[in-house]
């Protein structure tokens, strides 16, 4: 019975991890298209990837967007989360619901919504357009993580500092912010991952002249599949894994994705 139970658990884990592992394995194939098992192993697809200028550009655009989005989402999201965490009653619940509302809207709908308002302002397929869209998508994550973080730091330390004569700004920078460093790191990493991986909303807002790496992968996969895209996906996976490790070390990844309170 115990053996059967463990076997079921192992199979379940295999199902969850299979597509991720297979992509990594396939990226080392020597074949010109997807065949299993590959007829040989090589690094040639990584070499091919290195040659492709469009993917370099895509990667640079995606990294640039993710960095700008992370900075913007933290600068406007962290103070708002502090206000929510220190707020009380109905007002607090309302603010929290409002700031996390974008999470309830499906990506296709959000993409269409933004396309419709961006089109008249010529913001479609531009850096500012995609950054604004990604800040909307990442805001709920930043708010959730930071509200949890600020709620676990008691207001007592802040009050003590204020009693001793520190100005609210000084309290924030010398007490609240240092105490919430792990949460901040997690929020930054999650915001970066969400922006870096975002595909569907970006699909509505990109064009031939401005696109991100995930959108390139999406467009490529709808027409053909070969080990080149496996190599590219592996690169994306490595970036994500590094950021996940950072979150796991700071506040724990499960903590970061759970709902506060």
């Amino acid at each position: 019975m115990r053996v059967i139970g463990n076997l079921i658990v192992a199979l379940a884990f295999a199902y969850v991890l299979a597509p991720i592992l297979i992509v990594v394995v396939m990226s080392f194939s020597i074949d010109a298209y997807i065949v299993f098992p590959p007829s040989g192993w090589s690094l040639k697809w990584y070499g091919e990837l290195w040659q492709r200028k469009e993917f370099h550009d895509g990667l640079m655009v995606s990294l640039k967007i993710a960095a700008m989005v992370t900075a913007t989402a933290l600068i406007i999201g962290v103070p708002a989360a502090l206000a929510v965490a220190r707020g009380q009653g109905r007002w607090r619940d309302l603010a929290y619901a409002y700031l996390t509302a974008p999470q309830l809207v499906p990506a296709v709908v959000l993409g269409l919504m933004l396309l419709l308002v961006f089109a008249p302002f010529r913001l479609v397929a531009t850096l500012p357009g995609v950054v604004i869209a990604h800040v909307v998508v990442t805001m709920p994550f930043v708010i959730r993580i930071m509200v949890t973080t600020f709620s676990t730091i008691t207001a007592d330390c802040e009050a003590a500092a204020a009693t001793l004569g520190a100005s609210p700004l000084k309290v924030f920078f010398t007490v609240t912010l240092p105490l919430s460093a792990p949460g901040l790191l997690a929020a930054a990493a999650i915001a970066f991952i969400v922006s870096f991986d975002e595909t569907v909303v970006t699909l509505f807002l990109s064009g031939p002249r401005f696109t991100t790496l995930p959108v390139q992968v999406f467009n490529y996969v709808t027409t053909k599949t070969d080990p080149l895209i496996a190599a590219l996906s592996t690169v994306l996976l490595v970036f994500t894994a590094l950021l996940i490790a950072a979150v796991e070390r700071s506040i724990g990844i499960v903590q970061a994705v759970s709902t506060p309170r």
Binding site: P19, V35, F36, V135, L237, V254
Partner: protein, 282 residues
């Protein structure tokens, strides 16, 4: 600090995020409603005259009923499959004392952080005609011709369900709080075998968690676009793919807006059900 100045500070630090979302989220949401009552002209032009024609077109086209049915059916099947896979994982993670627990938990929810396009591409490699499963079966001599596992309904459900597992596992683990080892020990003392203990104690006690996990899975699959589009190979039509199609292939933005509002309405109803459920189980 006086109460007044404190409230002032609160409003000030809340303002940037509130104003940003007002402009970049609430305004576009309202604009969606505005656009849905504008007239769509051939070629994708929009005339700003009030009309209910888009809603009439939406209601009179039976294809939309089929889209809703497809979306719901795929959501039900994918959520059930995710539960089937997620339940053993969640129960194992809840009970294990292994030092690897943390790492295994990260593994279980890892699809959450891996880009949807990468996971879907992985499923293409596994389920494709020359992929892992068909290649393996052929090598073993089990089949002559490849099984049709992608670019159809089966592929969409398999790929979609994998992305739901993290949501299901997290919902189930938080629901397992009601499990009590004493009850199971008592049943074991009274002679119940492991299977019977599971069916008469563990499973019924975790029912609220199962229901919650199912609902979350349902909502997430209804919203999914990448899996139905790529694993469906353009042959599986759901609400999400139709919104994209109306926007870019048929250039009918007002109808895409109507479809979006319809989808939001369905999700709001589901979320209300979810709220009711969490209040009851809490």
């Amino acid at each position: 600090m006086t109460a007044l100045s404190q409230r002032h500070t609160m409003a000030m630090i809340l303002a940037p995020a509130v104003l940003f979302l007002a402009g970049a989220f609430m305004l576009p949401l309202l604009n969606l409603g505005r656009l849905s009552v504008f007239e769509n002209l051939p070629g994708g032009a929009i005339r700003e005259t009030l009309t209910l024609a888009n809603y009439r077109a939406f209601l009179s086209d039976s294809f939309n009923l089929e889209l809703t049915r497809n979306s719901c059916l795929i959501a039900v099947q994918a959520s059930l499959l995710a539960l089937l896979v997620g339940y053993p994982i969640a129960l194992f993670l809840y009970r294990t004392t292994s030092p690897w627990r943390g790492l295994l938990l990260v593994a279980a929810i890892s699809p959450l952080f891996v880009s949807g396009v990468v996971r879907v591409f992985g499923w293409l490699v596994i389920l494709g005609d020359t992929g892992f499963i068909n290649g393996g079966f052929k090598w073993l001599g089990l089949i002559d011709r490849p099984l049709a596992l992608i670019f159809n309904w089966t592929g969409v459900v398999i790929g979609l369900a994998e992305g739901l597992v993290p949501f299901v596992v997290l919902a189930l683990i938080s629901g397992f709080g009601r499990l009590d080892q004493n009850i199971e020990d008592a049943a074991a003392t009274l002679g119940a075998d492991p299977l019977r203990r599971f069916l008469t104690i563990t499973l019924p006690l975790s029912m609220p968690g199962i229901l919650l996990a199912f609902l979350i899975g349902f909502v997430v699959s209804m919203s999914a676009y990448v899996s139905p589009r790529i694993l469906g190979g353009g042959r599986i039509f759901v609400l999400a793919t139709e919104i994209y199609g109306q926007t870019f292939e048929l250039n009918n933005w007002p109808l895409a807006a109507v479809l979006s509002l319809y989808m939001l309405l369905l999700l709001v109803l589901l979320t209300l059900a979810y709220k009711k459920l969490t209040e009851r189980s809490a």
